[in-house]
């Protein structure tokens, strides 16, 4: 039987529109986007011919979005998204498909496609929809010959079908993925193995996954469960803990603590910061405790790394070339330092990102105990350490 898969990813479902330029389904979570994970899941069920239509602000055309090479992917402008989706479905029907599994992301559901198809065939239905309890999911099994039913679905943006759709009950893992909170929860579920899908990397220590090319500098601490994406960089003294995920090409600078947070791909988090319960990237921080999105204009705190590899290479080259002159300049003009660094003084410092205020002595460390026992330091503890 010729069964094909059609994946749709657009941003209409997002609770906070404008949160990200791309649909949430295309954002990496523990190394792979939901789109990639769903395409792989369909292929695991033997549906080898999978197509994807992804909404982008850029002109329409064929783009990859990190999908496997055998998945056809079309980028569509928002106003043409549903028309393109319908034409892809029609092409599938014309080329001999008997059934089409239509998935709109949206929600990530670890659906049992085999049971869905069996249910659809047993009942001889035109369109079958998946549901979890009372909530309808945007996962359909459509008989490809029923083009009018499919057309009615596409033209109402999957809201209505001209014929009655029986509901097939989903029993596996489900994440609505409608907001950054869900994105964060998805990362936690992947890292704690609540979902069947795995982090896209190698488990270097129990609960710590790193993707190829991840750079963890000496002195950085990665406490399980955590994920470091490909070509991501965790600099010395940084701490990554409590189900945190640093996605591909992201950079966490020296001494920064990432706790229960996601650093989105191509993002930079400055030195000496404390990012907790947040999703950071694209010049924004979504704080999940406060339920607020903050635009960060200061590149010393949070910035975007260029997506273009050439530009990234140029920046790195410039950094290397200017390293020695900067050191020499610093050596000539900086004030002489005292020989032995004082641990208490070091602990009292505020983040280097704050510039000259870094030398400010914090009253938070001036506890009664620290006066009584000058050699004792109180360090914040993370995880099992």
């Amino acid at each position: 039987m010729d069964i094909r898969g059609l994946l749709l990813a657009n941003s209409e479902n997002m609770e906070e529109k404008g949160q990200a330029e791309a649909p949430l389904a295309t954002l990496d979570v523990a190394g792979k986007s939901t789109l990639q994970r769903m395409a792989e899941r369909l292929q695991q069920y033997g549906i080898s011919s999978v197509s994807a239509v992804v909404e982008t602000a850029a002109p329409s055309g064929v783009r990859n979005f990190g999908l496997p090479s055998d998945v056809t992917c079309l980028a569509a402008a928002p106003d043409r998204f549903w028309r393109i989706a319908e034409s892809v479905f029609n092409d599938m029907a014309q080329s001999g498909a008997e059934l089409v599994i239509l998935v709109r992301l949206g929600a990530y559901a670890e659906a049992d496609f085999e049971k869905l198809v069996q249910f659809h065939l047993d009942r001889k239905e035109r369109v079958t929809q998946m549901a979890s309890d009372e909530q309808k999911l945007e996962i359909f099994c459509i008989s490809a010959s029923r083009r009018n039913d499919a057309a009615s679905l596409f033209r109402t943006q999957l809201a209505h079908c001209r014929s009655e759709c029986p509901l097939f009950q989903h029993e596996g893992y489900l994440n609505r993925l409608a907001s950054p909170r869900h994105l964060r929860q998805f990362a936690i579920d992947i890292l704690t193995r609540q979902a069947q899908t795995c982090p896209a990397g190698k488990e270097i220590r129990p609960g710590v996954w790193t993707a190829p090319g991840a750079m963890i500098e000496k002195g950085a601490r990665i406490l399980a469960p955590a994920f470091i994406g490909s070509m991501a960089r965790v600099r010395s003294g940084a701490v990554i803990t409590r189900c945190s995920s640093v996605e591909r090409h992201a950079e966490v600078d020296c001494g920064t603590v990432i706790e229960n947070s996601t650093v989105l791909p191509f993002s930079y988090v400055g030195a000496g910061l404390d990012l907790a319960h947040s999703v950071a990237g694209m010049g924004r921080i979504v704080n999940l405790h406060r339920d607020v999105t903050v635009t960060i204009v200061d590149p010393k705190l949070v910035a975007s790394v260029s997506v273009a590899s050439g530009r990234r290479l140029m920046t790195s080259a410039a950094e290397i070339v200017t390293y020695l002159p900067r050191l020499a300049f610093h050596g000539m003009f900086a004030s002489a330092k005292s020989g032995q660094p004082d641990l208490q003084a070091t602990l009292r410092q505020t983040p280097p990102a704050l510039g000259t205020a870094a030398g400010f002595e914090t009253s938070a460390c001036d506890t009664e105990a620290s006066h009584k026992f000058p050699n004792m330091v109180v360090a914040r503890r993370y995880g099992h350490q």
């Binding site: 903050v294 705190l301 400010f360």
Partner: protein, 132 residues
């Protein structure tokens, strides 16, 4: 002894706190910081954007106030300001209050008992009608 002689200065911070506005703000509050034991409350309710220079300025104000045995307290933090202060680990350095009034009141909250009783006594004597 007049314990009400030191005023609490409440300053509302601008909507955008970048290096330029931070410099201007610092210039505005510098006379108050130069006073003996300055007591300042910064109202951050309007702050929609704050960068490292803004946080640095807050720390500088605090440092200046501490040098003169005074204090700077923050009040009515906007979500944006709270997130940035949390991110830069500076929220733990300041006393933060829900409202400016609470912050201003807190300056008298730590008076030694003897001074507080005297303050109460002064208030009572001011409200009681004098006998004819």
């Amino acid at each position: 002894m007049d314990i009400n002689s030191r005023p609490v200065v409440v300053k509302r911070m601008p909507e955008r706190l970048n290096s330029r506005t931070a410099r201007e703000f610092l210039r505005d509050v510098r006379p108050f910081l130069a006073a003996d034991r300055p007591q300042l409350v910064f109202d951050l309710s309007l702050v929609a954007q704050i960068d490292a220079a803004g946080v640095e300025m807050l720390l500088r104000c605090m440092s200046e106030a501490h040098k003169r045995d005074g204090d700077v307290k923050l009040a009515s933090l906007s979500d944006q300001a709270a997130v940035v202060l949390e991110l830069t680990r500076t929220e733990r350095l300041f006393e933060i209050y829900e409202t400016s009034t609470e912050a201003a009141r807190s300056f008298s909250g730590f008076l030694p008992n003897a001074m507080r009783q005297q303050l109460l006594h002064n208030k009572r004597s001011a409200t009681q009608p004098t006998a004819a």
